[in-house]
Amino acid sequence: MIDWQERKIHWRDTKWQMAAILIPFFLAVLVLPLYAEVLNGKSVFGIPLGYFLLGHALLTVAAVVTAGFVNRQDAIDDWHGAKEDN
């Protein structure tokens, strides 16, 4: 079980991890739609690029980002002795 002194460091690392996951993701989600219509003039795999980025790319990024978060946060918990027992 986590030491008292480790809790602050664990929470600091957890907060940075959250920010590192959420800020780039939400930036992409909020900024990409501004350019999607213009990008639709090009295509990738036959799909209009703007549609591909908003649909396929962002949905894939969401899954990858969440999976990355699960693994990274587990590693942080393990490093600081905050992990649940198996």
Binding site: F25, S43, G46, I47, L54, A63, T66
Partner: protein, 611 residues
């Protein structure tokens, strides 16, 4: 400190059970296809598909009947990550995500991405910032979490009222959608189906509680996924020889774009904060798919995504689902699975919209009004679509589509067997029932555990608590059924419920996790301010006194809640040491769940707690 071994609780035969269930569903569909080839009527097939969907899921719900507190209110805390994620996906997506969102995509094109991106962002937000901490606290409801976090019955009561309003609206919207799909399948009156489906959802919720809806949700997700993917994959094979509808439908937008550009379509540009989603009635296809910002403004799109994301992350139902996993690591994985499966399903339903639009553009537009294809005439008779002209050549704006029935019409347009047409409807029914059931149970436990029993100084004895919970779920089902009868636009009502959660609950929920200084008074003031501003703006918008989209109300209410909570917290005393210890404890995944420890000590000492 009691540490729990996760592996001991999870049923090792779950995979086998659900494999048998999936096989049974496939076998039932194959049986109906054989029956259709042997001249079984379309209405009978629809009725049998409806019965199979309700019966198979109902059997699982009935088998989940339980009589222990942990099972009834927290699913036994033994739903493994994959199945919890599967169940969560369908509870989040529901009929709105499965049918209404692609319906909006079919009619309004890429402006529908405010809904798509809002939905997936909400799950990511919940996975990272909300669910792990809610799970560690382990309260049975979202208001229960607030009660523990702030050691305040007042905060708990207020959050329960806001959460109940949100759950009621979303549950009513989903139940109405389920009844609409039931009418498509059986031809029975809408009112009767609302009542029957409410009784089914409420009855199974009364028997199994959270455990029941979790296992039923996984089953409903299997049915819905199968039912959505089969027609999409068949059409993808028909047009491209590839079984990947998610990748093949995009090319249709380019090829159909020439036909769209040849149409004379009105030039529309939405105002900055306008967000008008198409209504449920027959409305024309008068926009080009790849054009954006004709129904949703440049300002409304990012705010709309943020409102929907924060509203979904703060859904009261989510707290229950988070609590049903064995531990914090499992809840993170469960949400990870939910993001993956939701993303896959959203792409698949968008492909349904794309294929349907392709069929309309290539086989209906440019055809004489009295020589429309047979499949279109069939859809006209069922009320899913219509052509405004029968004399001249049909143009794109002449075609009217009904939002919540359009994408379910794809198997008809593709000339598939009646069984597959009914299968698509069954999938939509399963999805809507999953969401309705989840929100009915959440509402019922809020009514019983927070609004009724929450006044008490200490929690009820386990059996009495379960009994009150069953009554609460029954009352919730009746309330939801009564409201569902008056729902005209399910998407709008569901968005209203999400908006209330976004403006009223999310700001204080987020601050309660990230800011341990947040005081009881600050939380109360933040909840009250956010809810009042959001609901007031929604009411003014609905009555036409102000021009504002429903979702934009939380774009004002949410920041108001943040500011008021922060200001009042600064002006009041710091939280006491016990609350600070709870906050520190909930940030660490290891160790006993906070609420389980509170209950254990309370029942051992029989001492009151300030909950």
């Amino acid at each position: 400190m009691a540490n729990v071994r996760r592996s001991r609780f999870v049923n090792p035969r779950l995979g086998v059970f659900y494999s048998i269930f999936t096989s049974a569903v496939v076998a039932a569909v194959c049986g109906l296809m054989i029956g259709e080839l042997m001249s079984l009527g379309g209405r009978l097939i629809g009725g049998m598909m409806f019965g199979v969907t309700v019966l198979f899921v109902g059997l699982i719900g009935a088998a989940s009947t339980n009589n222990t507190e942990a099972d009834f209110f927290a699913g036994g805390r033994r739903s493994p990550a994959f199945f919890a994620g599967l169940s969560l996906t369908m509870a989040i997506l529901g009929g709105v995500g499965t049918v209404s969102i692609p319906g909006v995509a079919l009619r309004q094109g890429m402006d529908s991405f405010v809904l798509v991106l809002g939905w997936i962002s909400g799950l990511v937000l919940a996975a990272v910032v909300i669910a792990p901490f809610i799970r560690k606290v382990g309260a049975y409801t979202m208001p229960g979490y607030f009660g523990i976090r702030f050691e305040s019955r007042t905060v708990r009561m207020l959050s329960a009222i806001i959460a109940a309003a949100s759950c009621l609206l979303i549950a009513a919207a989903e139940l109405k959608l389920a009844a609409i799909f039931g009418v498509m399948m059986t031809g029975q009156p809408l009112i009767g189906l609302v009542v029957i489906l409410a009784l089914v959802a409420g009855g199974l919720g009364v028997l199994g509680g959270v455990r029941g809806v979790s296992w039923m949700g996984a089953a409903q997700a299997i049915i819905a996924t199968f039912a959505i993917c089969v027609p999409a994959t068949i059409v993808s094979l028909m047009i491209s020889n590839l079984p990947l509808p998610q990748m093949t439908h995009g090319a249709l937008y380019r090829s159909s774009g020439w036909i769209e550009r040849a149409q004379v379509l009105p030039v529309k540009a939405a105002r900055l904060f306008e967000a008008s989603f198409s209504g449920p009635g027959l409305m024309p296809l008068d926009t080009r798919f790849l054009d954006m910002y004709h129904a949703v403004g440049y300002g409304a799109l990012p705010f709309g995504i943020l409102v929907i994301a924060s509203g979904l992350a703060a859904l009261p139902m989510l707290a229950q689902r988070a609590g049903s996993t064995p531990g914090v690591y499992d809840v993170r994985k469960a949400f990870g699975w939910a993001v993956l499966i939701t993303g896959f399903l959203l792409l698949t339903v968008l492909s349904l919209a794309g294929f349907m639009r392709g069929y309309i553009l290539q086989q209906v537009v440019g055809v004489a009004g009295d020589q429309l294809p047979l499949w279109f005439q069939s859809l006209e008779q069922s009320g899913a679509m219509a052509a405004q002209t029968k004399t001249r050549t049909v143009t794109l704006p002449d075609i009217l589509v009904r939002r919540d029935m359009a994408v379910l019409s794809l198997p008809v347009a593709a000339g598939m067997m009646e069984t597959l047409v009914r299968l698509a409807q069954a999938g939509a029914l399963a999805a809507a029932m999953a969401a309705a059931g989840a929100h009915i149970v959440a509402l019922g436990t809020i009514i019983s555990d927070d609004l009724v029993a929450g006044f008490r100084a200490h929690s009820l004895a386990p059996q009495r608590r379960i009994a009150v919970g069953r009554i609460g779920i029954g009352v919730a089902a009746l309330a939801v059924a009564a409201l569902a009868l008056f729902v005209n636009d399910p998407l709008r009502i569901a968005l209203a419920g999400i908006t209330i959660a976004a403006g009223g609950l999310f700001p204080v929920l987020l601050l309660s996790i990230l800011w341990k200084r947040l005081s009881r008074a600050g939380a109360f003031a933040g909840l009250l301010a956010g809810a009042v501003v959001t609901v007031a703006l929604m009411a003014l918008s609905s009555s036409g006194q102000i021009t504002m989209a429903v979702t934009m109300a939380a774009a004002v209410g949410g920041p108001t809640s943040f500011l008021v909570a922060a200001a009042v917290t600064r002006a009041t005393s710091k939280p006491n040491r016990h609350i600070l210890e709870i906050v520190r404890d909930m940030r660490v995944p290891g160790g006993e769940t906070v609420y389980d420890r509170i209950l254990r000590l309370e029942r051992r000492n029989k001492s009151p707690t300030a909950l």
